[in-house]
C-alpha cells in the first residue's frame, strides 16, 4: 500500500486516475476500522487533508462553503456556521469523540454513506449542495443525490467531494438535530432527526424540511410531516401529525442497535422534538444572518 498527500485538487484527481485500486480519504475514521475489519486494502491511499481548499470554512456572497475534509471539530465551533446552522453544528459535535472529531469530516461522513450518519440529515434540511471533482472538472449536485444506499454513493470511482455549499438561511429560520443513543456519547445513532423551519411574524410555519436518519437504507426526508407544518402554527395537532408522518416514512431494520418498531416510534418522538427546537430557535433568531 502506498500513501500520498497531494496539495491540490488537480493533483488528487490525477493520482486517483493513475491507479484503479485507489482510495481518497480525509480523517480515515471509518476507513481504518473497516480495513481492520477485513475491507481489502487499496494499493494507493490519497490523503485529501493536504489540499487547502478542502480544509477551510469560508463565506462569500451569502454562501457558506465548507471544505470536504475540514475536521468537524472546526465545523462545530465556527461562530458564523453556528449562528446560521445551529443544527449542523450540533450534529458535527455528536460524531464519535473529541479525538475522532479532530479527524472526521463532513465529506467522509457523507461518502461513508451510513444510514446513521449524523451530519447528513442536517445537510439535507439545509438543502446543502456538494461540489464534486473529477478529471472532467467539477460538478455540483444536491447532498440528497449523493447517497444511494448503505455504504454506496452516486459518485464515480474517479470522483471525490471537494466542498459543501450552503445558502444563508432566510430570516426567522433555524435548524436543529437530535439523535437517540442509549448512552450519552461515543455511540452511533439508533435513530436521528433534523428539521429546519421558517416562521412568519405570527409564528406560523411557512417552510419546513424534516429528515430522518438511521431508520431507512438512506437518510430520508419526511414530506408528509413537512406538509403538515407548512402554513400551520406549531401546536399539538401539528406535532401529532409530524410524529405520525415521521414514523410512517421509516423503513427500518432490527439490528444490534435497536428494533424496527423502536426506531419507527422514536423517529416520531425525535421529529417532534427537533421541530420544537427549530421553532424556538427561529423565534429567538429573528432576522437573517
Amino acid at each position: 500500500m502506498r500513501y500520498v498527500r497531494p496539495g491540490t485538487v488537480d493533483e488528487a484527481v490525477s493520482l486517483l486516475n493513475s491507479e484503479p485500486e485507489s482510495c481518497v480519504f480525509a480523517g480515515a475514521t471509518d476507513l481504518v476500522p473497516q480495513m481492520q475489519g477485513g475491507r481489502p486494502e487499496p494499493k494507493l491511499m490519497i490523503d485529501l487533508k493536504g489540499i487547502p481548499r478542502l480544509v477551510k470554512v469560508s463565506y462569500s456572497n451569502g454562501q457558506l462553503v465548507v471544505g470536504a475534509a475540514t475536521p468537524v471539530s472546526i465545523v462545530k465551533v465556527d461562530d458564523n456556521l453556528k449562528a446560521a446552522f445551529p443544527g449542523l453544528s450540533e450534529s458535527s459535535g455528536l460524531i464519535g469523540s473529541d479525538q475522532i472529531q479532530n479527524r472526521a469530516s463532513l465529506g467522509g461522513n457523507l461518502c461513508t454513506a451510513s444510514p446513521g450518519a449524523d451530519t447528513i440529515p442536517s445537510l439535507m434540511v439545509n438543502s446543502a449542495r456538494v461540489v464534486i471533482a473529477s478529471s472532467g472538472g467539477t460538478r455540483t449536485i444536491p447532498v440528497s443525490d449523493v447517497v444511494t444506499g448503505p455504504g454506496s454513493v452516486s459518485l464515480k470511482s474517479n470522483e471525490f467531494v471537494v466542498e459543501f455549499i450552503l445558502d444563508a438561511p432566510p430570516k426567522r429560520t433555524a435548524d436543529a438535530y437530535l439523535r437517540f443513543i442509549p448512552r450519552t456519547e461515543m455511540d452511533i445513532a439508533v435513530v436521528g432527526a433534523a428539521a429546519r423551519l421558517t416562521l412568519d411574524d405570527a409564528d406560523c410555519c411557512t417552510e419546513a424540511l424534516v429528515a430522518i436518519g438511521a431508520a431507512a437504507p438512506t437518510v430520508v426526508r419526511a414530506p408528509v410531516a413537512e406538509n403538515a407544518l407548512r402554513g400551520n402554527p406549531i401546536n399539538d395537532e401539528t406535532l401529532a401529525e409530524v410524529m405520525a408522518a415521521a414514523s410512517a416514512v421509516c423503513s427500518p431494520i432490527s439490528d444490534k442497535r435497536g428494533t424496527k418498531e423502536y426506531r419507527r416510534q422514536v423517529a416520531g418522538v425525535l421529529a417532534k422534538r427537533v421541530v420544537l427546537q427549530a421553532a424556538k430557535r427561529a423565534k429567538e433568531k429573528g432576522g437573517a444572518v
Binding site: Q36, F180, P182, E185, I188, D255, Y262, Q265, V266
Partner: protein, 755 residues
Amino acid sequence: MTVAVEESPVKKSYKWVGTRPVRHDGLEKVNGKARFAADMTKPRMIHGHVLRSPLAHAKILSVDTTEAESMPGVKAVVTAADFPPPSKNEGFPHRSSNLIAREKVRYEGQVVAAVAATTRRQAKAAAAKIAVKYEELPHVLTVDEAMADGAPLLHENLITKGLDTTPKQASNIAKRDYFEQGDLEAGFAEADVVYEHEFTTKVVHQGYIEPHACVADTSKDGRSEIWCSSQGHFMVRSATAEMLGWETSQLKVIPAEIGGGFGGKTTIYLEPLAVKLSQKANRPVKIVMRREDVFKATGPTPGTKIRVKIGARKDGTLTAGKAWLAYESGAFPGSWGMLGGWCVFAPYDIPNVQIESFEVVVNKPVNIAYRAPSAPMAAFATETVIDQIAREIKMDPIELRLLNAVEEGDYNHSSMVGTFQRIGLKETLEAIRDHPNYKIPLGPNQGRGVATGFWFNIAQSSSATVNLTENGRAVVVTGSPDIGGSRVSMALMAAEELGIDVKFIQPVVGDTEAVGFTDVTEGSRTTFATGMAVVRACRELVTQLRERAAIMWDCSVEDVEWVDGKAHHSGNKESPLSLAEITAKAKKTGGPLNATGSLEAKGQGPAFSTQICDLEVDPETGKATILRYTTAQDAGTAIHPSYVEGQMQGGVAQGIGWALNEEYIHDKKGVMQNPGFLDYRIPVASDLPMIETVIVEVPNPKHPYGVRGVGEVGIVPPIPAIANAIHDATGLRLRDLPMSPVRVLEGLNQQNGVG
C-alpha cells in the same frame, strides 16, 4: 517463625492506616511510563497471530499449515499437535482444553492455530493461509436451547453430576447442586404474601481496557521467560507449565502492570502459544489480542435463567425461599450455578429454603470470574422479589431487609461460610436508611430503588518479603499484582507496623522467582491475605530490630520494647533508637535485616453492600438516566479509603452497564455481532453521576487491621436497585436484562395499550 497476627485486637485509630497518600505507582500510571504487557519489546522479537474458529460448533477434519509456513517472514506455526492433550485433572475452568481446539471447535473465536512472523502483518497474512476443514454442527446458545430434549451436544461424554441418579445419557448439563433447609411447604403455608418470578440475564464481559498480551522468550536450554499482565503470575507459571507438559522450574513469569482484570485475568489464553512459538522460532514472540479476540475468546460471565419464590408474613418476616438457577458456563463446565445458588438468599435469615442450581454448557466462550461471579444475577432475582413484597405489605424496603438481615451467629445458606462471624449487613442498611439521599424528593418520571448484595470474599495463600535498607527504609515485595491500589495498601500496613513514613516504603510486585508463592488476586483477597503476610514479615522484623537494639545496648531482648517505630529500653537507661539508627549499625550487629511472611490465610469476612439508585425514565424513548447513586459498603477497615471508594464506585459503574445496556449479541449462526466497545455498550463517564460512597467499618476480628475484601460486592446490588427504581418511576417490573431503552419502551407501550 509464626506470629499470631490473626489474634491481634483491632485498634480504633492508626497513624498510617486509613490515610490517603498518593499511590507509589501513581505518577507512572498517569504519565504513561508504566509498562503494560503489550509495551514489552525484546531484541529479535517477532509477532504472533492466532487463527480462530469462525464457527460456533464444528468438527475439525484437518488443519494444513503447509502454505502458511512458506509465507514471507514466517518463523513458526503451532497447532494442537504441538501441545500435550489436556490433563484429566485440569479442573475448573478447563483452561488447557480451552487453550487450543483439538477434535472440535465449540465456540466462535476458539483457537485453532498460531503463527509467528517478523511482522504482525506477515503473521496475519500467513494465518489466513492455514487451511482448516470443518464439518459444521448445530449449536446451542442459551440454557433453554442447551437443556432442551435432543439438544446438540457439546461434549458427547458429559454426564450430569449431582443428580440423585446418575443419568446414562450425556447432556449439556454439567452439574446440579442442591441445598435444602427447614420445611419449604410449611414455610410457604405460613406466608401471607408469596411471589414467584423468572429472570433472565445475558452474557456480559468484564470489559477491562487492556487486551490480553504477552511476550515469551524461550532459550535453547528449555527455559522460558514470560512477560504478561494477569491477576496472578504464579497461576500463569503453573497453568503454562501444565499446558506445555513442562516443569514449573522451566518458566519464569514477570508481571507487567495490569490494565484491569475484574476476574477475567485469573486464567490464561496466550502464554503457552507464545512459549511454543518462541521455542520453535528461537526468538522472543509477542502476541497481543485485538478487542474482537478479547470479546470472542476471553471472559465473559454467564447468561442465566433464574426462578425465585419468596414468602413473607404481613409483618415482613420472610418464611420461605425457593430458587431454581441455570447458569451457562460457556463451552466447558464450570461452577457458576453453584456459586449463584450459594448467594441467592445469603443476606437473609430465611428458615425454610430450597436451592437447586444447574451448570449448562453452550457454544460460547468459556466463562471466567467477573467481580463477585454469579452473585449479581441471583441478587437481581431475589432483591426484585423482596422489593415487590415490601410494596405489597406497605413496608419500607430497607426496614424489611433490616428485619430479615443476617448477623453474627446466623447460619449462611452457602456451605462456604457456615455460621456468620461479625458482619456488617445491618450497618450498611442503617447507613442507607439514615442517608439524606434516601429522603430527597423525586420529580415526575423519576424513581428510587434500593438493593442489598452479598459476597463471600476468599483468603488463600500469600507471601511477602520485607527488606530494610541500610538507611532505614523498607522495600515490601509481594506476589500480588496491583490491580486496585494494593501497593499503597501494603505500604500503609508496613508503615503502621514499622513506624516508617509511608513514602519511605517501596512496595514492589515481585516475579515468580523473587518472592514466595502467592495465589491469584481474586475474591477480594489481596489487602486481606497479602496484607497479613506483610504484617507477619514486619512483626518478624520488629523482633529482629529489638534483638539488634539489645546487642547495641548490651542488654536482654526482653528489656527492649518497640513503640512508634523506635526501640525503647524498658528501664529508660538508653535513649530510644530509631529504625534507621539500628539499620545503620546492621553490619556490626549481624548483617542486613529482612523477613518473609507467608500464610494460607483464614478468617476472611464476607462483604455486604446496600445501594440507592435514583433515575429518570424518558417516557417517550424508554431511556433511563441515572440521577444519583449512593452505595454503603462494609470494608471492615479501610486501609486506603480512596481505593476502597474506587472499588465501590467501580463495582457500581459496571453494574449499571450490565443492568442497562451490556449484552453479547449473536446472529443465528452463533457469531458475535458486537465485539467492540462501539456496540458493546459499557457506560462512558458522562453516563454516570458521581457515585456517592459511605464506607461502613465493622472490623473483621480475624485480620490484624480488621480488613475485609472490598473489590467485588459493589457490583451485586446495582441491577436490582435499577430494576426497582424503574418500577418506582414507571410501574414496570423488568425481569430480563438488559433494561435497555428498547425493552423499557416495549413495556411502557404495553402498559399504555400501544403497539
